[in-house]
Amino acid sequence: MSKIEDKLYTTRYRVDHNTHLKIADMEVCRKCEGKPCTIFCPAKVYIWDEDHIRVVYEGCLECGSCRIGCPYFNITWNFPRGGYGVQHKFG
């Protein structure tokens, strides 16, 4: 099992139609050198797509790392609405 998609497939979600993760200012991401969120996010939520960050919030594991790990604190982070998001079978 090497792909992150395969791993996330094992985890149970109740996906909301609205994102709980927002990039505050995309210009900041364009200038960000390492774009560390694309590396440390354990669910590969943040993908650099030529000129912008694509936010695949559906797979978010709600660890909160992007909120404090973004070097520019450029990610607006909220819990998903009550009852939505990841729902653990084991945890």
Partner: protein
């Protein structure tokens, strides 16, 4: 939901639910707000629960057939790993089986079961609900919370915040500062299914008993990584984590790192062929004593992970949550019954936590998180050097033992330096003595 409660508890994990049980048993009208589908559905941990603190609330719980116990841990091992080998020290004893000392269980199953005990005690649990705001009166006193439900304001005499290490709520409300990346370890975990017989056979345990591995070493690609491997009934929990501040500079993703861990020669034969059933991520609030926020204020208390209560050296977290939840529950009972939930009254909780093993342990290891953060060598170079040393001594290749000794010393000099090694040993001792 426009109803008044004595006590509102935010979060249905081990801290919040312990507080709820204690309060409800004393006749306090208590509500727990949980953002997941059920208590436990948002929770993650390594996988072991300590019996002692739970017994304070549920004596002999482990004799209850409905308790979702996976295995009783009778074998605890510490592993120092380099990238191609590992040295283990362990301790195995029947004395930890009856009564048990540590058990493995799944958070999602345990917290749900524990929540049922709370319901039996009279606690009202509302799931699928996020607390979005803290309500205060003009004096600043906390008087309730605003939930995401329509007409979702809840008024009460006291609020206990047990909503976890992240708590965006308390950051927004100015009750706790935002967490710094260097104060948490980002960890990922897989639950890997084998069969009950296979787990028992591979790990060499008695049926129903299990093993824990705490693994240090250069597993985390130049980061201070710590891995865990715990046996459950028919699954194995395999996790790895590293400090988030270091992860910001890394080129390796968490999912690559856990896959690499599975290939390690010590791990592979134990989990090979197993099927991953779940992949989760969570923080370990490992910043230690100096990152603990104020535990109380006018109309509220903090407990568990929310208060960054975590013993990084011993990998203890849920028992600290359990204990501070219980103490917060007792405080709530006294304060509500006496009609005084002022800051002054609630400071008694702070004193009780300080006198408990929770803060005593955290104070003892106060310098330990700093030691780890400032000496990444502990996780990388040292297990490497130990591995080289043992390998050299075990390898029969015609060299005399005297020659081998020289090679070892040369290797230590090259990789660490004797002075640095002595300095580190001294600082390490000072940080935990």
């Amino acid at each position: 939901m426009e109803e008044t409660f004595d006590l509102v508890i935010v979060g249905g994990g081990p801290a919040g639910m312990s507080a709820a049980i204690v309060a409800a048993r004393a006749g306090i009208k208590t509500i727990v707000i949980e953002r997941g589908e059920f208590p436990g559905s948002k929770n993650v941990y390594g996988g072991v629960v300590y019996v002692h603190e739970i017994e304070k609330i549920l004596p002999d719980f482990w004799k209850d057939k409905t308790a979702p116990i996976e295995r009783i841990i009778t074998d605890s091992r510490i592993v120092f790993a380099n990238d191609h080998g590992a040295m283990q020290v362990g301790y195995k004893t029947d004395r930890f089986s009856d009564p048990p000392n540590v058990i493995t269980t799944h958070r999602a199953k345990w917290d749900r079961w524990y929540a049922n005990k709370a319901k039996e005690a009279g606690v009202l649990i509302v799931n699928n609900t996020v607390v979005e705001e803290v309500l205060r009166e003009s004096t600043g006193k906390v008087i309730g919370v605003r939930t995401g439900r329509p007409d979702g304001d809840l008024h009460c005499k006291l609020v206990i915040f047990a909503d976890g290490a992240q708590s965006p709520l308390l950051v927004r409300a100015g009750i706790r500062k935002e967490v710094k990346a260097e104060h948490v370890a980002l960890s990922v975990k897989e639950t890997i299914q084998l069969s009950e017989e296979e787990v028992t056979k591979r790990f060499g345990t008695k049926p129903g008993e299990g093993v824990t591995f705490e693994i240090l070493g250069s597993l985390a690609d130049k980061m201070d990584g710590v891995a865990i491997m715990y046996t459950n009934k028919d699954t194995v929990s395999l996790g790895i984590g590293a400090n988030l501040e270091q992860w910001k500079k890394s080129k390796v993703t968490p999912y690559e790192m856990i896959d690499k861990l599975k290939e390690h020669p010590m791990i592979k034969p134990l989990v090979d062929g197993g099927q991953t059933k779940e992949y989760v991520a969570h923080w370990l609030p490992e910043g230690g004593y100096d990152t603990i926020p104020k535990l109380y204020g006018n109309g509220y208390l903090l407990c568990g992970d929310t208060a960054m209560l975590f013993n990084a050296l011993h990998r203890e977290g849920t028992n600290l949550a359990q204990e501070t939840g219980r103490l917060a529950g007792e405080m709530a009972v006294r304060a509500i019954k006496e009609g005084d939930t002022s800051e002054r009254m609630l400071s008694e909780y702070d004193a009780n936590v300080k006198n408990s093993f929770v803060l005593r342990d955290m104070r003892k290891y106060r310098k330990f998180p700093h030691l780890l953060f400032n000496n990444p060598m502990i996780f990388q170079t040292l297990p490497d050097v130990v591995g080289d040393m043992i390998e050299e001594m075990l390898l029969v290749d015609g060299k005399s033992k005297k020659e081998k000794q020289k090679i070892i010393v040369r290797n230590i000099r090259k990789k660490v330096g004797l002075c640095r090694l002595m300095g580190l040993a001294w600082r390490a001792w000072r940080s935990v003595k």
